[in-house]
């Protein structure tokens, strides 16, 4: 890439190592995204659970 | 001792039953006759063979000698018929700690090929004092609460014959009263029951009894 004109196809080709390089970067991306998304989902789940518990408590207080 | 006032149909009958464990003769020539609507208490000191007898009655244990008859036929010949109309609750919990109360009851009913609408299960749970615990994993319940799941199962199974080994284990005073009332209702509905217990159980009705062991 040095000096010569930049070409996307050449870049994507990675000198013949495209599979290896791009799957590495792809996996890294997946890992990053997963690690961001999964705690967010987890957080929703925890909050929902606490809310449910609060509601259950309120209900049982009403009935008793 | 089947001279109760109930109908004369004999449900379960044993002939010359004999049980030996570890060289010790527990009982011999035991003949029981349980008719419809009869409630039978098996009495005896610790180690007299009550549990062994109940397991023999269920076909879970082989007697040394003698026969168990269900409506006149040997139980090993009419197994499916017999099992469809009896229920046994023993010393052991039969409860999966990882399943919730509801799931436990459902899967117990499943083994009997029964199912029950959710309202009915809820009603049963309320009756045994477990309402609100239906989605709690059973391992988080105390020993008495776990026994109560079995009581709910007993209620829902609607079988004619109950065989209960120490149904009062781990139950508190209310629990004992509950079992007593359950037995009364069961009897009024025409069901029969055989049970053991060391607590004095007072049922306001006739009860037959068999005493094991002249032992120790």
């Amino acid at each position: 890439m040095n000096g010569s004109e930049f070409s996307w196809s050449e870049f994507l080709h990675m000198g013949g190592y495209a599979t290896f390089v791009w799957s590495s970067y792809g996996l890294a991306l997946v890992m990053v995204v997963f690690n961001i998304v999964s705690p967010m989902i987890e957080r929703k789940r925890v909050i929902a659970r606490v809310k449910r518990a609060i509601k259950r408590e309120a209900n049982s207080r009403q009935t008793s | 001792m089947p001279e109760s006032e109930s109908t004369n149909t004999t449900l379960l009958e044993t002939r010359q039953l004999e049980c030996v464990r570890d060289d010790r003769l527990l009982f011999r020539d035991l003949s029981i006759n349980l008719s419809e609507g009869e409630i039978l208490q098996v009495e005896g000191a610790n180690g007299s063979g009550k549990t062994s007898l109940l397991r023999i009655l269920c076909g879970l244990r082989l007697a040394e000698a003698g026969q168990v008859l269900w409506q006149g036929e040997d139980v090993s010949d009419v197994r499916e018929d017999y099992y469809a109309s009896m229920i046994y609750i023993g010393h052991l919990p039969c409860i999966k700690g990882d399943l919730t109360t509801l799931e436990n009851i459902r899967s117990l009913l499943d083994t009997r090929s029964q199912s029950a609408p959710i309202e009915e299960i809820d009603a049963a749970l309320t009756k045994v004092g477990l309402s609100g615990f239906d989605d709690v994993p059973s391992k988080a319940l105390s020993s008495g609460q776990r026994r109560r799941i079995l009581l709910a199962f007993l209620l829902l199974s609607k079988t004619r014959l109950w065989i209960l080994d120490e149904p009062l284990t781990a139950l508190d005073v209310q629990g004992v009263a509950l079992v007593e009332s359950m037995l009364m209702e069961h009897r009024e509905a025409g069901g029969s029951a055989i049970f053991t217990t060391h607590h004095g159980m007072q049922l306001p009705c006739e009860m037959s009894s068999v005493t094991l062991g002249v032992q120790c």
């Binding site: - | 076909g59 879970l60 039969c94 999966k96 799931e103 083994t111 009997r112």
Partner: protein, 223 residues
């Protein structure tokens, strides 16, 4: 009856999924044991290639063996097994459901992960398909035959090693044919004979083992 089968299968699967870690365990054990060999024997490709089919099969076998416990042990101890035996449904059907669940939870994952391990141990690509097929035919037999062994030893506490003593000899034919098939396939030869054998044994086990297990359970339940 089909319903009884389905309900029990569903219950066992649900129980397994409830404790997630347990689900993964036989698989991890398999991977770990396979990993021990390069460490203990030699990391060189030539040695590993020769050993690989045998090592993978032995590890799969041990992994199934150790997970057999969960077939009946717990049910026996907590009394659920009594309830199953008092079910109006034929015990054979219930046994089959439990074995099915067991295979889905242990055998199948092994089949799926084996190719990866084979690659790590330099098994040639053309033999990897055969490895999977041989495991696919073999692991259900391991579960089925294992069930007989467990049902016989369920009343023995700490019966784990007794169990291996009883079952391992029965596993040996499967092991020999399974490992041999992979070996032969690595050399590029046909493995039709081995596969037919494994298939026949599977058919045999499927038809007889549940019966034997049901009988064994009735015997050992007597306590």
């Amino acid at each position: 009856m089909l319903k009884a089968f389905y309900h029990l299968l569903a219950r066992d699967l649900r129980l397994a999924f409830r404790s997630r870690h347990e689900l993964a365990n036989p698989l991890i054990f398999f991977v770990l044991v396979v990993t021990l060999f390069p460490l203990a024997v030699s990391p060189s490709a030539e040695v590993l290639r020769v050993m690989a089919p045998g090592v993978i099969w032995v590890s799969a076998l041990l992994s199934v063996l150790l997970s057999l416990d969960r077939l009946f042990k717990q049910d026996y101890e907590d009394g659920s097994l009594d309830q199953l035996m008092l079910s109006p449904n034929p015990l054979v059907i219930l046994v089959l459901a439990k074995v099915c669940a067991h295979w889905l939870l242990t055998g199948l994952p092994l089949v799926l992960v084996a190719p990866l391990l084979a690659m790590f141990m330099y098994v040639p690509d053309e033999a990897i398909g055969v490895l999977m097929l041989s495991l696919l035919l073999g692991t259900p037999v391991l579960s089925l035959v294992g069930a007989i062994g467990v049902s016989l030893t369920v009343a023995v506490n700490r019966g784990g090693v007794l169990l291996s003593l009883i079952i391992l000899p029965l596993y040996i034919p499967i092991l020999i044919f399974g490992a041999n098939a992979v070996d032969v396939a690595s050399d590029g030869m046909s493995v039709r004979g081995q596969m037919l054998f494994l298939g026949a044994v599977l058919a045999l086990a499927l038809s007889l083992a549940p019966l034997a297990t049901a009988v064994a359970l009735r015997i050992t339940a007597s306590r």
